[in-house]
């Protein structure tokens, strides 16, 4: 099978890979680029564990053809922390016990990141809506919703400070 070159920015780093026609972005991020943050849950867009941001918008990496991200900016949960400095979302997830097994967490974080980028002051309902495509089987969602609201408040504080 002929491979095609794809160049994109992954978490701020210029990345070039050769992909098979039809290869999905999740496989490319995990296997070719070695970023294991996004998870393979259902492989059909039903669980949200593979959620990434492409040019600032959430996408399900398992349903995204790798060739379509040519020239685009792809961000996974790996982009959030600055060295040992956790992103306010990650900090709020840790301190709010918003993860148990952790499998949904990278997708939840990206869904939340996209929300807070677009809307720094979301209501509880807007947070709920933003993570409605991400399945969590451990936490009962409430700690996740609370963590996102906590992070939003902290980010607003930083901006006004």
């Amino acid at each position: 099978m002929t491979k095609s070159p794809v160049q994109f920015t992954l978490n701020g780093t210029e990345t070039g890979v050769f992909v098979n026609g039809g290869a999905n972005l999740l496989d490319v991020i995990r296997r070719e680029a070695g970023d294991l943050a996004p998870k393979l849950g259902c492989a059909q867009g039903g669980c949200g564990a593979c959620t990434v941001m492409i040019d600032g918008e959430t996408h399900l990496a398992c349903l995204t053809l790798a060739e379509t991200v040519e020239g685009k900016r792809v961000e996974t949960a790996t982009s959030l922390a600055n060295g040992p400095q956790l992103h306010p979302l990650q900090k709020a997830f840790v301190e709010g016990f918003a993860a148990q097994c952790g499998f949904c967490t990278p997708g939840m974080l990206m869904a939340a990141k996209a929300l807070l980028d677009a809307n720094p002051s979301p209501t509880r309902e807007q947070v709920t809506e933003a993570i409605a495509g991400n399945i969590c089987r451990c936490t009962g969602y409430e700690p996740i919703i609370n963590a996102i609201l906590t992070a939003a408040a902290e980010l607003r504080g930083r901006i006004s400070a």
């Binding site: 039903g46 097994c101 993570i131 399945i135 009962g140 409430e142 700690p143």
Partner: protein, 340 residues
């Protein structure tokens, strides 16, 4: 169309682990050359916090800072045998095994320190900050790091410990059938408030109020986290989840997460929790652990609340709108029982 309010109650005595065929857990503890301690288990942390709790337990039993303890789990090739993470047994069985292993390792650590300080090991104590000192004379002290270095590079001694906790198999008395299937129970009581729409059969859980007795809550936040998440799963099993909705006809079985029903983030009910601490005698520092009990009382409480709301008694899970509507139809209309 009327929305009927209902309240349901359920309580539970939940057995910790099982001892029908014997129920052992093992742990190994050893010091690294720089005086940190590694706890090796083959039990698995599924996200319930077993690694955090065994780490706390090991630090407490060793008398060292929690930051100096590492827990390595989930490899049955390199770890000592364990029955596994099920039956709500993690904290109780693994915790007890870790205490025993850590106690043996602590003895070896104090023996090594005693040689260095030229005192009797029984006169030594740990300060919890990484030092071993003579009781009543804290200036006569050695760090645990120096103790580990001396043990391994000078004395030729390992600072290690083995632990096993076994609940032996319980045989049934041939005459009476009497046996002890379990040695330790946790307890819970739970009230569910919900609403049932008698036109659509839809149930909305409004609020859960629960009281859990889990022995000592070794890590309060982890206990709370499990109770909240487990109650969500209880609601899910009570009202939504099934792989065989029209068993034995499988043609309507859910094929993926889109069709497999479960509560979404928008279906979260308020849950107020009271954790009662009544340390159990044979439990590690009194902790029994919440485990499966997080979900179990929710199901009967939901069933009872639905009966209270519209008078329909469902004995098949999940309690779907269809079952409720058929029940209302059979009864000739909703028959609220009026607990609220």
């Amino acid at each position: 169309m009327t929305v009927h309010k209902g309240r349901g109650f359920a309580c539970i005595n939940y057995p910790i682990g099982m001892n029908l065929g014997g129920d052992p857990s093992q742990a190994l503890v050893h010091a690294t050359p720089d005086g940190k301690f590694m706890v090796t288990l083959s039990a698995i942390d599924l996200g319930q916090g077993m690694k955090s709790v065994t780490r706390q337990i090991a630090a407490e039993a060793l008398g060292v800072p929690i930051a100096d303890v590492y827990v390595d789990t989930a490899d049955s090739d390199t770890g000592p045998h364990d029955m596994g993470s099920f039956a709500s047994r993690g904290t109780h069985r693994m915790g007890n095994a870790v205490i025993r292993a850590a106690t043996e390792a602590r003895r070896a650590m104090l023996d090594a320190a005693a040689d260095e300080l030229e005192v009797n090991a029984s006169d030594l104590e740990t300060d919890g900050h990484g030092n071993i000192q003579v009781k009543g004379a804290p200036s006569r002290a050695i760090t645990i790091e120096d103790t580990a270095i001396a043990a391994q590079f000078k004395q030729g001694r390992t600072l290690s410990g083995r632990g096993i906790f076994l609940i032996p198999p319980s045989e049934a008395d041939p005459n009476t059938g009497e046996m002890s299937p379990v040695t330790c129970f946790a307890h819970a009581a739970l009230v569910v408030d919900l609403e049932v729409d008698d036109e659509t059969g839809e149930v909305t859980v409004i609020e859960i109020n629960s009281a859990y007795e889990v022995g000592r809550a070794l890590n309060e936040k982890l206990v709370e986290q499990q109770l909240i998440g487990g109650a969500w799963m209880g609601i899910s099993h009570a009202l939504y989840e099934t792989t065989e909705p029209y068993y034995p006809d499988r043609s309507h079985a859910p094929g993926d997460f889109v069709e497999y029903l479960q509560p979404s983030p928008g279906d979260v009910a308020t849950h107020n929790i009271a954790v009662l601490e009544r340390p159990a005698e044979d439990a590690p520092y009194g902790g029994k652990g919440p485990g499966e009990m997080c979900a179990n009382p929710v199901l009967p409480a939901v069933a009872n609340a639905i009966y209270d709301a519209v008078g329909v008694r469902c004995d098949r899970l999940p309690i779907t709108p269809e079952k409720i509507l058929r029940g209302i139809q059979n009864n000739g209309g909703a028959q609220p029982k009026g607990a609220l």
